[in-house]
Amino acid sequence: MSVNPEFQTRYEGRAWTFPANIPTDALVKSRYVFDPMEEIVKHVLEDYNPRFPLEVRPGDIVVAGHHFGQSSGRAIATKALKATGIGCVVSSAFSRTFYRNCFEIGLPSLEVPEVTEFVEDGDHLVIDLVDGLFRNETRNIERSVPPAPPFLLRMLAAGGLIALTQSDPDWAQRTD
């Protein structure tokens, strides 16, 4: 796999935890979808933690429970989460459209089973997407998980799906 040298595979940051089954409606409510992104980011996940959109810092890591990003497959939900400045998002199991959208729009994501069991708000986390590494430094807990398929990592490395199709004319053939 050829990885853009600027592509970062390792992320380190402060955790924000969220419960299971959060729908994309909670990331971007339908009444905000046509608003400018500067406005949309002020409301991301506000119903679950009103402090999150106000206090999130660049490089923070969102850690969510089972089936994160369920319901509507709107890509704007992942775009808005990325626009908050977070470094990456971890879930015990993503909803499939949300997971797909993460790679397509260039938001690094990693699935770590039961992750909410061993992370609290504010914990210091280290993640490596290619090595499949998850470490909670605050609690000294480490997990090894399978990394995403090479096609998805290639997409992320290119900066998203559209960037991949524009930078690699053979994108449709190189799926293994």
Binding site: A20, N21, P23, D25, K29, S30, V33, F34, D47, H66, H67, Q70, S71, S72, G73, R74, A75, I76, T78, A93, F94, S95, R96, T97, R100, N101, E104, I105, P149, F151, L152, G160, L161, I162, T165, W171, A172, Q173, T175, D176
Partner: protein, 423 residues
């Protein structure tokens, strides 16, 4: 190979595929609604911009708005109209009906095809034996529009086998609601689901429709019913319907089979806050409802109005309850007119709305004040989706919706339908 694998292999030019493979396949149809088309078109114009090579594969249905209530919404629809005209894609404008109902009724989905869409209920088209998957805007703008293709990971298959015969007053929608509870929300993430068994095979096309529509809530990528004589007969009624595209699996044994018997099932209600919070109707009866609605992604079928009329014929709804009747398509409304259902439900106190997705997401109708409640055939019941986060949405069968409208509170429909009645 199963049906999904066969379709993906054919459309990606491979002899065979297996679960876990990532393939790029030809897409036959992209369908978007008024909440997704504008953003997708914007991404396309900003980042791709060239002429669409296959504009006829792209269909937009304005289904959340039958008449925009604000200037901002009118502007978004107008920009989308302008985009579809400029790009030469197909548009079904306000008043056409629900996105999926319109696509199917117009013959724009055929068995064996690949259909993608932004709407999370897109997998419903698996009912006809198509591979139907919800993708995000960047897939649509980045690969489907400029190349006519999309990437797919081949999913593992889970068979859902339903057997038995329903009790009077219990409908296929009750089974569908119950199944989300039995399997669990997000319980089969990424899987393909095959709905089978003598119960499923005994249903007509529009009742089968209620099963693949569940995929999103179960977490599945797609779902289907293997094409059979029911499928064939239905497809032959469609404009340009092509039965030569039918694909069936090889009948290979499936490792993961979940079996359910529907015979002793009572009517079911999905109570807030999620579609998996399903209870036997006894737990919900007597909850006051100010609103009742037949409509939505799985609702607004002719069958829903037929069932409601069985309960409401010659009766009148409760004075404290409003009954919204929202046909899934113009064809449904025409048939309801011909069968006299429009007049019967009007006389019973119901209000007919234009063909659309009704109160889904409150784009055009269906907001509730704190403390209000609605019982409906919709597909979602998250708090805040219909106005106040302190309002409640209950999901139930058309019979239960009708009986509840009559009593002004959630009511068991079994008191209103005779033995051997509505099924």
């Amino acid at each position: 190979m199963n049906l999904v694998e066969k379709i993906l292999a054919r459309a990606s030019g491979r002899e065979s595929v297996q679960p876990g493979d990532v393939v790029v396949a030809e897409v036959d149809r992209l369908v978007m609604h008024d909440l997704s088309a504008y953003l997708t078109g914007k991404v396309y114009d900003e980042r791709i911009g060239k002429d669409l090579p296959y504009p006829d594969r792209v269909v937009t249905v304005f289904d959340h708005h039958f008449s925009p209530p604000t200037e901002q919404q009118a502007d978004v629809l107008n920009r989308t109209r302008e985009w579809t005209a400029r790009r030469g894609t197909q548009l079904f404008d306000c008043g056409s009906g629900n996105i999926h109902n319109v696509l199917m009724q117009n013959g724009l989905v055929q068995p064996g095809q690949i259909v993608v869409g932004s709407d999370s209920h897109t997998p419903v088209h698996g009912t006809v034996g198509a591979l139907a998957v919800a993708l995000g805007n960047d897939s649509h703008a980045g690969t489907v529009m400029p190349f006519g293709k999309a990437w797919f990971r081949v999913p593992e298959l889970v068979q859902i086998e339903l057997t038995g015969t329903l009790q009077p007053g219990v409908t296929p929608r009750d089974v569908a609601l119950w199944l989300v509870h039995e399997l669990g929300e997000g319980s089969v993430i990424y899987k393909a689901l095959e709905f089978t068994g003598d119960f499923i095979k005994g249903l007509d096309f529009w009742d089968r429709w209620l099963f693949p529509v569940l995929c999103v809530d179960l977490g599945a990528k797609c779902g289907y019913v293997e094409p059979d004589e029911v499928t064939r007969a239905f497809v032959e009624t469609l404009p340009g319907g092509r039965v030569d595209l039918l694909v069936n699996g090889d009948g290979d044994p499936v490792e993961d089979v979940r079996r359910f018997d529907v015979s002793s099932l009572p009517p079911q209600v999905a109570m807030p806050p999620t579609v998996g919070n399903v209870h036997a109707i006894g737990d919900a009866v007597d909850t006051p409802v100010q609103w009742a609605e037949l409509g939505g992604h799985g609702g607004g079928r002719l069958e829903d109005f037929r069932l409601a009329a069985e309960v409401l014929r010659g009766r009148h709804i409760h004075p404290g309850t409003k009954l919204n009747l929202v046909p899934g398509s113009r064809e449904v409304f025409r048939q309801a007119l011909e069968l006299g259902l429009v007049a019967e439900l009007h006389e019973a106190g119901g209000t007919w709305f234009p063909p659309s997705t009704g109160s889904n997401q409150t784009a055009n109708m269906g907001a509730m004040s704190a403390g209000e409640a609605m019982v409906s055939t919709h597909s979602r019941n998250f708090p805040g989706r219909n106005g106040s986060t302190k309002a409640s949405m209950f999901l139930a069968s058309a019979l239960t919706v009708a009986a509840s409208a009559l009593e002004g509170k959630i009511a068991d429909p079994r008191g209103y339908v005779g033995h051997g009645g509505a099924q």
